[in-house]
Subunit: 209 residues, 3 copies
């Protein structure tokens, strides 16, 4: 589990970098605002999962290293700002690895707390994407998960695969790598070939409800 | 309680339908986005109530049928999309029955957990309306409860009546139907006669706070 | 602690007044909408802190006087609306006293629940500013803490001072007044001399993440 813990801290730092860069995109917030949004992006998903599951203390209250990882990520985002701009493909890869990791970790945590598989899949996806949703709300963006190439759906697919393999007693580590790889693969294919889910319905509707 | 449980599951499905239709109104989200917003609309109010009261496991983690009701509602919303457009009055009635039911259920749950009547009334109203508020935030709408004909106020009035009758030991079932009917009646009258609460103050103000 | 309790109730009422005035600034909500936003502004920060810490019952569920303080604040905001418009400096002072008080109270509460100092500082700041952030989201404003003169940063500085003095066993009451005064002083200086934190980075960036 030691390697995985390192991954989780690094994943948190990376989400903070991605949040800090996103915060800077629209307005010109000060250092505090950027750090704040980086923080919310990084811990939003895990906090929501833990609060919905009633799992206390929640992740960053229990382990202060997550807070330092976020502060470190924000500082890095500022110092290497220009360089990071040029590394979009690297950033994309990190983000993809991050959501894959957080999905599996969130799914496992929900299972270990006695949640059913349906709930565990939702909690896994929430862990990965809800930090970004809250960030988008704070910065007045339409949450990307509603209009972007397959994103949260990739997480959900990975979580469902994990739960299926778990049901058939596939060993945990093999399952971790298989399900995580599926998320990464789906996400890369979606961006590469510009895939998206079918639209719901196009016609607009005005309702009194 | 069996009939009421059926009502609750149906009410959840209906809120999911209403959320899915609302999600489709503004942008053209994909299937995932619509299901996601339907889900949040349906479980947002009850989840917030349970988290604020510290009542774990929260409603849809405890009972997975609520998740299936939401998925079913979203599929129905897509398959019968055109038909549902023409059924606005029916939809309005279902929504009204839904908020009435959720208000009373939420008020009762808060009371049963030892909350005072003031808190119970607020929790009842939250159960009914906060899913819609979160949906409006996610889809970038000004939450309807701020500008629409009497909506949350009807829930609050019903909750207060329930608490008053409860205080005078009116039997639970009679109380349930009486208070629920008051919510439905107020809401129907408000829409029918275009009633709204008095405005607060009209002058705009710029403040440094 | 009796004086402090009185302060907390008054601080809550004041946040409700500030929320009610803010709600009225942009649109023309009805009485319900204004009370609702006043309520969220006043209890949002403390509720989020208590939920994140798993401290149940949360503050306004435990003590119903906070609910009455909010209702009183909203009524006052309406009755003395024109007068309050002219009292901007007084309102600013009250707001500043409010965030100072809530920061220290929130920091102390987190510490008393066993949180580490890093978490306690964040919880103290959340108590003071998150009600306003939620209010801004509901009323479709970019949260002020991202673009305004030093605001949340003043809270964070005060919380960190409190934690430092606490570490060196400075007596609680002295610490309370010293740390609170620092928040008030920083905030007044920031507005008076129009100070703000350095911007993060100005160049805009379009990223695929």
């Amino acid at each position: 589990m030691k390697v995985q813990y390192l991954f989780e801290v690094l994943g948190t730092a990376f989400f903070a970098i991605s949040g800090a860069l996103a915060a800077n995109r629209k307005s010109t917030p000060d250092w505090f605002g950027v750090t704040f949004i980086g923080f919310i992006t990084a811990i939003g998903g895990g906090s929501l999962r833990d609060v919905l599951l009633g799992c206390y203390p929640i992740v960053w209250v229990k382990d202060v290293y997550f807070i330092y990882a976020i502060l470190g990520g924000t500082v890095l985002a500022s110092v290497f700002y220009t360089t990071l701009q040029k590394l979009r493909k690297t950033l994309f890869l990190f983000d993809t690895l991050g959501i894959a990791l957080f999905t599996i970790v969130g799914t496992e945590k929900a299972l270990s707390l006695g949640a059913g598989p349906e709930t565990a899949a939702i909690m896994g996806m929430f862990s990965a994407v809800m930090g970004g949703v809250i960030r988008d709300i704070l910065t007045h963006e339409i949450p990307i998960i509603f209009h972007k190439e397959i994103y949260a759906t990739a997480c959900l697919a990975g979580a469902l695969l994990y739960l299926t393999l778990h049901y058939f007693h596939v060993s945990r580590n093999l399952n971790f790598w298989l399900s995580g790889s599926v998320i990464v693969t789906i996400r890369i294919m979606a961006v590469r070939y510009n895939l998206s889910l079918p639209k719901f319905r196009k016609e607009s509707v005005t309702s009194t409800i």
